[in-house]
Structures are given as C-alpha cells and as structure tokens.
C-alpha cells in the first residue's frame, strides 16, 4: 500500500479497546488502570488483577455489576422520563493522554512490590538492571524489588529504557502486547516475520534481548515449546510509552469512494424506535421460514428507504435486535410489539443500550466492539484494511494462545497465522463504512457507529412540532422514547431526518386501547409540543376520546417508600426490573410474584421492607364494620336537623294553615283545600314506615318536599329499597305509579308517609 497521504492516529486517551477496559475498571470499582494511556489493545484485559476478577469474565467482560455510580431516577416502563437521558461521559470516556505522567498510588506501589516479590529473583534483577540499577551492589532481594518499583514509578526510567532500545525490539514488544501480553513463542516468531519481515532466528534473538531487559518472561522449560509473557504490572506503563508502535495508521484522500453509503444514518435508538412503531402499526406477517412476506417487506423497505436499501443487512440487524431482546415477538403468524419492553429499553442509560447493541454485533462479528473502538481511535480518518486486519488477527491469535496456555498446551497450534478476516458484517450492518481508493480498502465509523460509541450529549431537540393540521414533526435527535410514544397516539407517515406523524380518529382510538387516557394524552402533547396544543386539535381530540376512562380500577401490588428514602430508592438500579409502574414518586406497582426477590434486593440495599403486606380492606369483618359505620352515618344525616328551623317549619307549614271557622274565606278554603294527605311523620317515623312498606311489599302514600321548586307533591309509590346517593344521604328507590317510572326520593324530604292496604301496582 502506498504511504502517500498516510498519517497515524495519535495514541492518547481516545484509543480503541483500551477505552472499554478503562471504563470497566472504573465502573467495576477497580482502582487500577487509572490514567494508563490508550491503545488498540483489548485482549490484555485477561490479565486483570484480583480486584477485577470477580466482576469480569475471562475476556475481561463484565459478568455482573451491582455497584453503579449513576444515581438517576429509576424509570420503569411507565416511561415518565421521556427526555433523552444525558450521557455521562466521565463514566466511560478516558481523559488520559500521553502527556499525562501519572504518579503511582501507595496501593499500586504495594501491589507492584508484592508481584515482584513473587517473581523469580533473576527476572527482577534483570529489569532493575535494565532500568539503570546495579543489583549486585544492592544485595538483598527485597531491596532490589523496592528500588525496581521506585524506578518504575518514575515514568522516565522506563521511557528511557524503551528509547534506548532498537526499533525492532520495540515493535516486537508492541506486537506482544497487542496479542494480550502472551504468545506462543514459535507462533509469535512467525507472526513477527509476517508482520515485519526478517527471519525467525533474528526474532528469537530480539525476544532474548527483551528478556534480558526483564520486559518479557517465558512460561517455563517445556520440550514442546513455551509462551512469551509480559509481567502484568508492566503492561500499563508500557502502553504509556509504546504509543507510536501501537497506533493504527490512518489515511485521508478526497477521492476515497464510500461503498453503499446510505443518505441518512441516524443513531440506532432512533431507527429502532421508528421500526418498532412501524411494526406496531403495520404488524408484518411471517412466512413458514419466519421471514417477512415479500410484499410487506417491500413496503417496509420503501418506507425506510432513507435508512436502508432493500434486502439490506441493516434491517436484519434492527429486526434481530428487536427480536432478540423481546421487543417484538411472534404472535400467531404476525410480529407483535411488546410496548413495555421497548419503552424500558429506550429509557435505559445510553451505555446500557450500547452494551446490548455490542452484544448483538458480537454475534455477527467476534470482537466487534474492539474493532469499533480501534477504528474510532483514528478520529474520523480512514484506517487501511491491512493493519486493521493484522491487529485483529493478533487479537484473535492472542485469545487462542491464552486459552491454550491455560489448558497447559505447549505445542504450536500453527495453521491460523495466515488466516484472513473480513469486517463485512460490520459494514453491512452500517456501523462501519468501507472506502475504496484504487485497489485499497479503508474503514471508518459510519455516523451510526460514531453515535453508538460517542453519543452526543444533546442534539438540541427536546420537543416536537404539533401543527394545527394534526401533523407532528419529530426531528431525529428527539428522545427515542418520545418518538415511540408518539407512534402510540398517531400514525407514522414517514421516516426521515424528521419523522412525520398524523393524528387521526383511528390512531386515537388505538391509543385508548393501548392504555392512554384522555388527560394523559392531552398533557403529553401539551408538554412536548414546541407550540403547545392548538385549540382545534384539543377540542377534536376531546370529542374523539369522549369521557371514557376518567376513573379506572387497578389490581396491583403497590410498593410505597417513605419520602425520605425516595431518592435512594429510585437510584437503585437493581430494583428496576421489579417495578412495573411508577404512579408517583414513592408509589410503585411491583410484580407480586417476585416479592421474595424484591425483598432480598431491598434488604441488600439497606432498606427495611415491612414483613406484612398491607391489605385494603384489612379483613372482611373490618370492611363490614366500616360499611356499617357508613350506614349509621347516613341514618344520622337523615335525622340531623336544625331544631330552630324545625320549630319554625312546624308552625308555618302552609299545608297546616286553615281559615278561621266562620270567617268569610272558610268557604273558599274548603273548595281549594287539597285532598288530605297521609299523617305527618318525623324522620325516624318516616324511616320506620318506609322499612315496613318495603318489608311488607306495600304501597306508600307520601308527601314529598321538592327542593327544586320548593313544592310539595302527594305521590303514590311502590317502595323497593333504601340506598345511599353520592352525597351519602339515604334515598328511597320506588316506583312512582302516576309517572310510571322508577324514581329516587331523598328520605329526609319525605314529610308525610302512610302505607296503603295492599300493593298499589308496580312496574310489572
């Protein structure tokens, strides 16, 4: 390959897989590695010290993590937090650079000393000698170790040593570190020949030189062969000083042609949320081979034409990702979206989302994450294929050697030294871009890949546009959970730099079926629309939604937290999986089947969960007693009267007024006098009469005082029962014979009542 226009990516904190290692350490709580320079190495994570061993798998992968630093409110599937979570850069982005000369901490120095004390004396002495010391003059081994550690702690001694070395020695050492600090000797010689040319015996000599300087050790004298090993505590200091040898070359030329470049390459969370919405609104049907039917696939590809070409692997990545994580699943012969899972995924922290994406990519290309970080170290420039492939081969072979070493297999595996690798899986998935210039191939991160590794803090879009013509324009960069929720209430019309949605009567009907409630929906639009909720849209939505669902019943197991502990509770990420809904801060719905697990997690986190589950009502008897109390209360309300008012009313009731006998109006009075009603009764008497009538199935004459127009009516009714109205007052439900319908009468307003002899005729 021509070196014209070639440049090299600087080795600093931005570099490759090292970043991942760094991030793990921090998040894993390990103290080591702080400040070591970055490179494109990742396999050497296997050399992780004791402090990390518990939290990682064999390849330095995290097996579990339970001590996240991030507080952040726990957001369950209710998705209350719909703003895009901010990226906590400091949590994973290394800030170290070559320029930073780190001082070792006391703990690190002790750790190093302990390691050297366990090493064979001659190896430590060789290292000390290489660093400029004279072990013969020191005498005691313990003192030699102390001085070696001190020399290493001064960065300049090691850099001086490396500076004095031949370039080929440094290159060999760098290659060994790229292999993870461990390599089979014979194979490694061949690898060096392949990489740098020369003859095997020259490289044997080079490795001996490195061994003489105490930088490389062997695995022990075994006839079949042996392994070169770099003492683990030396790795970090060496990384710091071997920058130029470790970095990947870069290339830039304006005529590099990008192969299969898509016009729009948004972050994965945007396209995943949009695809999930599309599938929710147009559930694709699958063939017997579990593939989307051709016609539907064509529609889908047409809809997402800005994101992927027909038959593209990008779609498969999206589809598999959704399927793998349970965001979509097959129900019958159609794909169905699990909305809660999608929402949960969308509210995860960006780092967690990325880990899941990396996991999906790993299935397509081993060590995908490391490759991406390595390419990322070129800072947007092109990385030639050959060196990238070479370093990938060393990673792969390093993995293989490590495995054999742990199995005590000392024979040379051979065979893999000329194996070719391809990154087409990553380019096809749209996270890497393949560039071609003449016969040469180059790689760089696509905007999608870049957004995955280096998510922007904030794209500046917190709200969408809702226009009075019922259209919603949601630019890419809006919180994906917001996009997904928009898809629940409106029809997705287009996927582009700004997704377009349309609110229709049908979409609103669907939203109601999905659990949206009127006020919730309106509030959502009001809150996240840049221009608020236009009056015509609000009125129309209200008319479409009607009044259903203002009040709802829930069957839940609720978990409540004292307000003093809410913040701590919500920051506890281990609890997230158990919380199925967050009603308000401090009130959550949890999965009742998992109560024992929740209790354990709570206790581990220092909470004291109550032993009993509080019941509402506490027990049946208590409930009955409570009901009784309410009945008594209703009765008490009935007979509650203002004595003064009663006295006045008793004296002045117009029905009780009569003309004085013998007066001139007596005759007229006689003519106009209404038919005499039943006898007057006080409320207790009325109640007794009513109960008697109901029990005896008797008709009832009564005088009812209507408060509406302050009139008194004589009615004949067939009483059915006494009930409570919404104010808690007793009412008589009775069939009004004259009106021919069932009515209710407030018991307190019945002034006169008398049962009839027989049943006066009811509704039947």
């Amino acid at each position: 390959m021509s070196n014209e226009g070639q440049d090299t990516a600087p080795v600093d904190g931005e570099g490759g897989g090292r970043r991942r290692r760094r991030r793990r350490r921090r998040r894993g709580g390990g103290g080591g590695g702080e400040g070591a320079s970055a490179d494109v190495l990742a396999p050497q994570e296997n050399e992780g010290g004791e402090g990390e061993a518990g939290a990682r798998g064999r390849r330095g992968r995290r097996v579990f993590r339970d001590d996240f630093e991030a507080p952040g409110a726990g957001v369950p599937s209710s998705g209350k937090m719909v703003v895009k979570p901010r990226v906590h850069r400091k949590k994973w982005k290394p800030t170290a650079g070559l320029a930073r000369r780190r001082r070792m901490s006391r703990g690190e120095i002790d750790e190093l000393a302990t390691y050297f004390m366990k090493m064979p004396e001659p190896l430590v002495h060789a290292l000390y000698r290489a660093l400029g010391g004279q072990p013969v003059r020191v005498g005691e081994h313990e003192r030699v170790v102390q001085l070696t550690v001190r020399a290493l702690a001064q960065g300049s001694r090691l850099s001086g040593l490396l500076y004095q070395m031949q370039p080929r020695d440094r290159q060999a050492l760098a290659a060994l570190i790229q292999c993870g600090g461990l390599a089979h000797a014979d194979d490694f010689h061949r690898e060096l020949v392949l990489m740098l040319g020369g003859r095997e015996h020259d490289w044997v000599r080079t490795m001996q030189v490195l061994a003489d300087r105490g930088l490389v050790c062997g695995s022990g004298p075994v006839e079949e062969g042996f392994y070169y090993l770099v003492p683990e505590p030396l790795i970090d200091p060496l990384l710091e000083h071997l920058g130029p040898e470790l970095e990947l070359p870069t290339f830039q030329h304006e005529e590099i042609r990008v192969v299969d470049q898509r016009p729009f390459c948004p972050p994965l969370d945007f396209s995943l949320a949009t695809l999930a919405t599309y599938m929710d609104q147009h559930p694709p049907k699958l063939t017997q081979r579990q593939e989307v039917f051709k016609a539907q696939k064509e529609d889908l590809d047409k809809f997402f034409a800005q994101l992927w070409a027909p038959e593209s692997e990008v779609f498969n990545l999206h589809y598999d990702f959704l399927m793998m994580h349970g965001m979509i699943e097959l129900r019958g012969d159609r794909v169905s979206v699990n909305r809660e899972v999608v929402e949960e995924w969308l509210t995860l922290e960006p780092e967690d989302q990325r880990d899941l994406v990396f996991r999906a990519l790993e299935k397509r290309q081993g060590m995908a994450e490391w490759v991406l970080w390595a390419v990322h170290s070129a800072k947007g420039e092109w990385v030639p294929e050959a060196p990238l492939m070479a370093i990938y081969r060393r990673w792969k072979r390093g993995e293989d050697w490590r495995e054999r070493f742990h199995k005590r297999l000392y024979t040379s595996p051979r065979g893999a030294d000329r194996e070719g690798y391809s990154f087409s899986a990553l380019t096809n998935c749209g996270v890497l871009e393949l560039g071609v210039w003449g016969q040469q191939k180059f790689y760089r991160l696509s905007p999608r890949g870049l957004a995955l590794l280096d998510p922007p803090d904030d794209e500046g879009f917190a709200k969408f546009y809702l226009t009075p013509n019922y259209e919603i324009i949601a630019p890419a960069g809006l919180a994906p959970v917001l996009l997904f929720r928009l898809g629940e209430i409106s029809e997705l019309m287009g996927c582009d730099r700004a997704n377009t949605y349309k609110i229709t009567e049908i979409s609103i009907e669907q939203a109601l079926k999905k659990g949206w409630r009127r006020e919730e929906l309106l509030e959502f639009l009001r809150e996240y629309s840049q221009i608020g909720l236009p009056q015509n849209v609000e009125t129309t939505l209200r008319s479409w939604m009607g009044g259903d669902g203002d009040v709802e019943f829930h069957e839940i197991t609720a978990l409540t937290v004292h307000r003093a502990h809410i913040k701590r509770f919500e920051s506890l990420r281990a609890l997230r999986p158990f919380i199925v809904h967050r009603f308000a801060p401090g009130v959550y719905a949890v999965d009742r089947k998992r109560l024992p697990e929740i209790t354990i997690v709570l206790m581990e986190a220092g909470f004291n969960p109550g032993k009993e589950i509080r019941k509402y009502p506490a027990d049946d008897e208590a409930a009955q007693s409570r009901e009784r109390l309410h009945h008594l209360l209703a009765e008490a309300r009935e007979i509650r009267e203002d004595p003064v008012a009663r006295a006045q009313r008793a004296d002045t009731l117009p029905a009780d007024l009569h003309a004085i006998p013998g007066s001139s109006v007596e005759m007229q009075e006689k003519k106009k006098r209404p038919p005499k009603g039943p006898p007057r009764a006080n409320p207790q008497e009325v109640r007794a009469i009513l109960e008697k009538a109901i029990k005896g199935n008797l008709g009832l004459h009564m005088t009812y005082h209507s408060l509406k127009d302050d009139s008194r009516k004589a009615v004949l009714v067939v009483p059915e029962r006494i009930a409570l109205n919404r104010e808690g007052a007793a009412v008589l439900v009775a069939f009004d014979v004259e009106a021919g319908m069932r009515l209710s009468y407030s018991v307190a307003q019945i002034e006169r009542a008398q049962t009839t002899d027989g049943r006066a005729g009811g509704p039947g």
Binding site: F264, C265, P468, Y470, A476, G494, R497, I531, Q535, N536
Partner: protein
C-alpha cells in the same frame, strides 16, 4: 449525523423542506426557498416547501445557479442535506437549457429546436409523446409548429426535459398604460413590495423566460394591483378574464382608478354589455356560452379579435375546461394567472401550470398578516346540536340527503342570533349554499339577499350600500364566493357549504380578509356529529394548513 439545531430548516430525503416560522432568520430563508421550492402547506410555526423539477427549472430560468441552492440549503439546514436532494438539484438544474426553443429564422409558423448535443437530440427523438410533434427542418434541425408550443413544452416537461423557451412572445398592439400616482379618492397609489416583486418575477425584465405564469396571493392581498403592475410593464392591449359580472365591474373600476386609462379605453364584455376596448374585461361564462351542446362557443373569438399583448386569468383555478383548449393555442402571448388557492377539486392544477405558466410567486398568508396587509383572521367552527326531534329525521334520511339536512339544521338560526347580536356593530356577511335556508335567514333578520337570480345592477347597488355601511348585514349565496371586494366586511358567517370544498372555504374567508383594525372573524356553523362535521374536518385541515387560526366551539357556549 451532524446536527445544528439552531438552524431553521429540515431538508427531508424526499425533497420536502420544513421551515420554522418563528426563527429569527425566517424571512431571509423564506425568500431564498421561494425561488426554487413550492410552498405546500403553511400551518402555524412550520411551513412545508417541496423541491421538484418544475420549481428547480423555474429557478434555473430566473438565473439561479446550482451552487446557490446547494450552499443555501447547507447553510440553513439542521441536518446534513440528503445527498439524494443534492443530486436531484444538481441533475435537474443541469438539464435546463439542454433543449432550446427559438424563433425560426425563415418560417414564422415554425419554432426551431436547438439541442446542446447530438446525444440529447437522439434522446428527445425517442420520447414517444414528443416525437409526433417534431417536424424535420432541413437536414440539421428539428422544429415544431407554432401552435404546438404549449403542448410540446408540457410533454417535454413530463418527460423530464425542460425547454428553455427563447422564442419570445407575439407583441400585441402597444398601449400607453401607466400606474396612477394618486387615486380618485385623492390618496397616493402605492404598490406594495411583494406586489412589485411578484410582477417583476413574472415579467423578468421582458426576457423570453418570463411573461407567463401564475401568482398566488391570499384573498385581499391585492392581486388586481399585481395585474395592473404587470400591465404597466407590458404596455400592450390586455384581455382580462374574470369570474362574474360583479367582478368585471370591479376590475374596470380598479383599472380606471389606478391607471392613466380612460373610460373609453376600458371595456366590459359580459352577458349585458359587449365592449371590446384596449383593455377588455370578460367573464369565463361568456366565453364558454353556446346555444346548445353541439353548437360552437360563440364568444371564443374574443381571443383573436384584438392583437392582445397580455391575457390575465383572474381566479385561474376556475379556468373552465373549454378555455383550456383556447389557452393552449395562445402560447405565443403573454399570460398571467392570479389566484388565492391553486387547488381544483378536479385535480387539474398541473394543467393550469402548464398552460398559463409556472407558479412565479407565492406568499404565505401569515407573512402578510404580520405586515398588516391583510386582516388578522380567526376561524371558528361552531358546532350546533339538533332540536325538536330533527336528529331522528336525520338518522332516517337517505345517505344522499343527510348532508343537506345537516346543513340546513334550523338550530343553526339560534346560534346565528347570538352571533349577530355579538357583532351587531360589525359589517356581517351571512354566506350559504341552500337558497331556502338563505331566504329564511333574510326574512328572519329583514336583511337583503343576493343570489344567482338577483340582477346584476341590483347586486351592484346592494354591494355598494354594504361598502358604504348603509347595510350592516348582507345575506349572500355562493355567487359572492369570488372576486367581490367588500373591504369593510369583517365578519362572515357560513351557514352552509359545499361538501368540504377547500377553495370555497378559502374564498369565503377571503371576503373578510381586507385589512382592518379589529381583525376578521369567520364562523362556520356545523351540525354536530353529522356528515357536515366530517366535511368540515377536511376544510379545517385545509385552512390550518394555510396557516389560519382555527377554533372549535360549541354552539351552546
């Protein structure tokens, strides 16, 4: 993905461009966009433009370069401009000018074609629809008949080959026409900037690339003035086609008021009077009148009677089908189309563009409202319920009857009472479609009614009284939908409409858009939960897309 959220544009992959109207640089970006993209919808806060070949070729014909467009889009876009769009802009603009139409040096009946390369000529020769129009012009050239100019350009456009028409126009008889400095009422006559710009964009300094096309401006924005400005630029005899007799009279009044022409130079050609003068204003109706279905159109000769230098089509969206044919033969003459709503319910907007010319200028209603050139309008949809068992009659009615029943719902009158009471100090137009209903309203309020049956002179008298303020309430049928200038009307109540017709809604609203201090109110009375409400939804969408503020209210409130 490079994002610049502070920029005002979002350029979509399909050529749609979204523009934030509240952005501080909105006006500059709008002017930039309007030169090569078409304004599709203009709801509040976010306007949608579309870039398509026609608009790009129009831009190219006005001298806009590819680099100007690309650089502008890149500068103002929030996201990276889609490569597809850049490629479209580039390829489309590069195509312009590959085929030129020139005057034939020897034969006046022919127009010669000039191709940039022989390969282009070969490709054009393969376009079936165009091939039949081509005429051999010696061994080296191809030509078309002069009468095929319009249809040739139309077909070439459809095939993706925009023709640079350099054949020029037939020069009409000269006419010394100038805009007046002072109007009859003594006030100075000033042409607004946007009116001048639209006339300039149409005329293009007399270059062959200009001289035809459509100007789209909201009702009340002064399209007549634009036509007068265009006439003053062309300075040739002019034929103006308008929608009805009242509109013709209005045109005559305006021309006499705002130009130096005298009454002897301006004539009306309608059913009542048939004066052909230097500037003649005719109705579409008279042009398409014939004695029987089989007979010839008796007045189409008007196009040929004079050597017109300019033909103005008022409310060009109403261009009747017979006039299409006549217009196709008039491609050699300058043509100006004016409209507020270039939507046709028959979907033939494309034909209008290809025959009269491309859209030369378009301005959102909001921009004019902000500048105070048209009234601040509020649209209200008032929903009315049924009364006295009418709902049952509605439910029982046949599907075809339902819309009518809902439209003439008697309960609307109660709401009308309230509205008229609220606006008793205003000049109110009550507009409807169903005559029975309008007669009842006229009786109820003892107000004058104008329908199709009202004789022209009587209409003019009533409109005149309304303008003077002698009548505060006027009931009108759909005869008043177009071209009637009632500057003082500030409230319109639409009691019934025609099945969600978008242009009818916009035109009726246009009656109250003439600028006034207290703004304008436009009420549509709709019977709740009926067919009428369904159609009202379509009109609502149209009006909101145009940027009008739309409120929905309950009649009971």
């Amino acid at each position: 993905m490079h994002v610049r959220p502070d920029n005002p544009l979002i350029v979509q992959g399909d050529g749609k461009v979204l523009l934030e109207t509240k952005h501080p640089q909105y006006e500059g970006v709008r002017d930039f966009l309007s030169r090569f993209a078409e304004l599709e919808t203009s709801p509040e806060h976010l306007h949608t433009y579309r870039i398509h070949p026609l608009t790009l070729w129009n831009a190219a014909s006005s001298g806009m370069t590819k680099a100007e467009i690309v650089d502008g889009l890149r500068e103002w876009s929030k996201f990276d401009v889609p490569p597809d769009v850049l490629a479209q802009v580039s390829e489309t603009i590069e195509r312009y000018g590959l085929v030129k139409l020139l005057q034939h040096p020897d034969d006046r009946k022919l127009l010669r074609l000039e191709f940039t390369t022989a390969y282009v000529a070969k490709l054009i020769g393969q376009v079936k629809t165009v091939k039949e129009l081509l005429v051999e012009d010696g061994k080296r050239y191809l030509a078309i008949q002069g009468g095929h100019r319009g249809i040739f350009k139309q077909r070439m456009l459809a095939a993706g080959w925009p023709v640079e028409d350099l054949a020029g126009f037939i020069e009409g008889d000269p006419l010394d026409i100038q805009t007046a400095e002072v109007m009859k009422n003594g006030k100075p006559f000033l042409i607004r900037d946007y009116q001048r710009t639209s006339a300039d964009r149409w005329f293009q300094d007399g270059r062959p690339a200009g001289g035809n096309g459509v100007i789209v401006l909201p009702c009340g924005a002064g399209k007549t003035i634009v036509a007068i400005a265009a006439m003053a630029k062309v300075k040739q005899k002019t034929l103006i086609l308008a929608t009805n007799g009242a509109a013709v009279n209005q045109w005559v009044r305006e021309i006499l008021d705002k130009t130096n022409l005298t009454e002897g130079q301006v004539g009306a050609y309608t059913g009542d009077t048939k004066n052909i003068r230097d500037v003649t204003v005719a109705t579409y109706q008279i042009l398409t009148w014939r004695q029987s279905k089989e007979a010839q159109f008796a007045h189409l000769h008007l196009f040929e009677d004079q050597n017109w230098g300019l033909i103005v089509y008022d409310e060009v969206h109403l261009l009747p089908a017979p006039v299409f044919g006549a217009t196709a033969e008039l491609q050699g003459r300058r043509r100006l189309g004016l409209t507020a709503t270039l939507v046709r319910e028959d979907g033939r907007e494309g034909d209008v563009f290809s025959l009269v010319g491309p859209k030369r200028f378009d301005m959102a209603w909001q921009s004019l409202e902000e500048q105070g050139f048209i009234a601040e309008a509020k649209c209200y949809e008032v929903r009315v319920g049924w009364k006295n068992g009418a709902a049952l009659a509605y439910e029982k009615a046949r599907e075809g009857e339902k819309f009518r029943l809902a439209a003439v719902n008697p309960a609307k009158l109660e709401v009308l009472d309230t509205l008229l009471k609220r606006h008793q100090a205003d000049n109110v137009l009550v507009i409807g479609t169903y005559l029975d209903q309008l007669h009842e309203i006229a009786r109820r309020y003892k107000a004058p009614l104008i329908t199709g049956e009202t004789p022209g002179p009587q209409r003019d008298v009533l409109f005149g009284k309304f303008r003077k303020g002698e009548i505060k309430l006027l009931i009108v049928s759909k005869v008043a939908n177009f071209s009637i200038d009632l500057p003082d009307a500030n409230v319109a109540v639409q009691v019934s409409g025609s099945f969600g017709s978008r242009q009818e809604e916009a035109q009726r609203l246009g009656r109250v858009l003439r600028p006034k201090k207290d703004g304008a109110h436009f009420y549509s009375l709709i019977t709740r939960e009926t067919k009428e409400q369904e159609f009202a939804m379509k009109r609502q969408l149209f009006l909101t897309e145009q940027g009008y503020r739309y409120y929905i209210q309950e009649g009971s409130n």
